[in-house]
């Protein structure tokens, strides 16, 4: 079998469902692949390792991909794992924030990833505010604790399938403002990136085919797939993950290899306007469909 190394964006969690299921159900083996899955602690690492040739594939985020390519990392998106944003602006259900406009003069927590100021700026703009109307606070490790403890009034960068459930379980229910509904161009939350110069398209195509099959299995058999996922490791089997699993199923890209070029063009333009990337790169430099000739 051909060896393929994949670096996740973070620790294994329900977002990685198709990969875990493909591994467990033997779909990778069916494609003649021996996939090694590595979990890093810093989400900024996987693209660097892929760009440096240390891994065949890395999971990253579409917004970050634009920044990385603009900074000269030899990377291209070759597949999609989660095809909608997961990011949301999270507030307390019982809090005073009923609409984005209520954020005026409030504290917004975030975990540094590079693009949150641009995102919050876009959301505020539609509500008639600017970034200067809120106080941005980096809370790094503790998005939901900071919100639950009342240190901040809202957090950006929380995941709708994860932090929302977590707050419910802790008894401090939250509410999500979905970023794509509030003025942000929609994007792929989790994507597979490969080295632009050295990638083996044929091998990657086989990998994506296996995850596509796994995605279909998950959609068709939500309960059974959860049992398989939870069985891989005891620390995965808890209530939070069970809820997150349910909420994530609809968001897995049903066609991981498929590329929506417009999405990438629009987001590139958005970032350029926000001043985060200089110039505009053609979609072809950012993302490809490995099946296309």
């Amino acid at each position: 079998a051909d060896k393929l190394t994949l670096i996740l964006d973070w620790f294994v969690n329900p977002d990685h469902g198709p990969i875990v299921i493909a591994q467990e159900k033997g779909y990778f083996a069916d494609q003649g692949l021996d996939v090694e899955v590595v979990a890093p602690a810093d989400p900024a690492d996987p693209p660097k390792m892929v760009a440096a040739g240390r891994a065949d594939l890395g999971i990253t985020y579409q917004p970050q991909l634009h920044l990385q390519v603009a900074e000269g990392l030899p990377l291209k998106r070759v597949g999609t794992l989660v095809a909608t944003p997961l990011n949301c602006l999270l507030v307390r259900e019982d809090g005073p924030i009923r609409s984005i406009a209520d954020l005026k003069g409030k504290k917004v927590g975030y975990s540094v990833a590079g693009v949150e100021e641009a995102m919050i700026g876009a959301l505020l703009k539609r509500a008639g505010l600017t970034i200067d109307d809120v106080e941005m606070v980096n809370v790094n490790f503790s998005l939901s604790p900071a919100l639950m403890a009342g240190q901040v009034d809202a957090v950006i960068g929380a995941y709708r399938n994860f932090e929302l459930n977590q707050m419910n379980i802790e008894g401090v229910p939250g509410r999500c403002f979905y970023v794509e509904e509030e003025g942000l161009p929609t994007y792929d939350e989790l994507i597979y990136a490969a080295n632009a110069e050295t990638m083996d398209k044929e091998k990657i195509a086989r990998f994506l085919a296996a995850t596509e099959k796994a995605t279909q299995f998950i959609v068709n058999h939500p309960e059974e797939s959860w049992t398989i996922f939870a069985g891989t490791s005891p620390e995965l089997d808890d209530e939070l993950n069970a809820r997150a699993w349910k909420d994530t199923i609809a968001r897995f890209a049903p066609s991981p290899a498929g590329l929506d070029a417009g999405r990438y063009a629009r987001f590139e333009a958005f970032l350029n306007e926000a001043g985060l990337v200089e110039g505009i790169r053609p979609v072809n430099d950012l993302a490809i469909d490995v099946g296309a000739q």
Binding site: P47, L67, A70, E71, G72, V112, N138
Partner: protein, 245 residues
């Protein structure tokens, strides 16, 4: 003068090694940019870096002063009582064994995301070397001095303040030398845990934006500051030591 020359030589050596590492190991710039790139980033972002460095420097200096005060006070308290010592020694070691990041949410809950939590983080990190070196010094007062004080009918407080403390200043000085190296690390960890300004924050941001050259530029500024701080403290510590000898 001579020290400056050697320091310059050391700088050149480090830069040379760095360039060699980049060129020979073929490290790509997004893993480790060469000195040239970093210098360019440093110059281009000088205002941004200076702003953030100012914040960090303030945190470090406050942390150093407070940490020294708290550490010295603890040492003096422990020197006064053998039972307190027996009880607190394991707790001191324990306090070092807890990675500060675990305490960060608690600290930020109480102190907020301002300068307070970073200063406390720096204090937590330097407290241990200062307290334990100073305590070592306080516990090894030459017996002759203590005999003398006893014959003279000294009050206990007077023996502590006029004899044991001054005699332990050289030990305090060696604790301070360590503290000078660790205090900036404490402040930067504090910034990683939650801050919107400072060199540590700037590093995180640059890393998130894939601007590795800016990250290393901030890093170099932090390292330079640490070295200067160490040299200053070393100078003070040496005076403290020669004063008590």
């Amino acid at each position: 003068m001579k020290r400056l020359l050697w320091a310059a030589a050391a700088t050149v050596l480090v830069l040379g090694l760095w360039q060699a590492l980049v060129s020979l190991a073929g490290l790509p710039p997004f893993i480790l940019p060469g000195p040239g790139r970093v210098a360019t980033a440093l110059w281009k972002n000088r205002v941004l870096i200076a702003d953030n460095a100012g914040v960090t420097i303030l945190e470090v200096l406050l942390g150093l002063v407070l940490g020294t005060l708290v550490g010295a006070a603890t040492a003096i308290g422990l020197a006064a009582s053998a039972s307190a010592r027996a009880l607190m020694r394991p707790i001191l070691v324990f306090s070092q064994a807890i990675p500060v990041f675990a305490l960060a949410p608690i600290l930020t809950l109480w102190l907020g995301y301002g300068i307070g939590s970073k200063v406390v983080m720096a204090v937590l990190i330097i407290f241990f070397p200062v307290a334990s070196s100073f305590l070592d010094g306080l516990l090894t007062t030459p017996q002759g001095y203590l005999d003398l004080a006893r014959c003279m009918g000294a009050r206990p407080g007077a023996t502590l303040w006029r004899i044991r403390v001054p005699a332990a200043l050289p030990s305090l000085a060696s604790g301070l030398r360590l503290a000078a190296v660790y205090a900036p690390i404490g402040a930067v960890i504090g910034e990683w845990v939650g801050a919107s300004r400072g060199l540590g924050y700037l590093m995180l941001l640059a890393n998130g934006r894939a601007k590795i050259d800016l990250m290393f530029a901030s890093l170099i500024v932090l390292a330079a500051f640490t070295i200067i701080l160490h040299a200053l403290i070393d100078f003070l510590a040496t005076r403290l030591q020669s004063d008590a000898n």
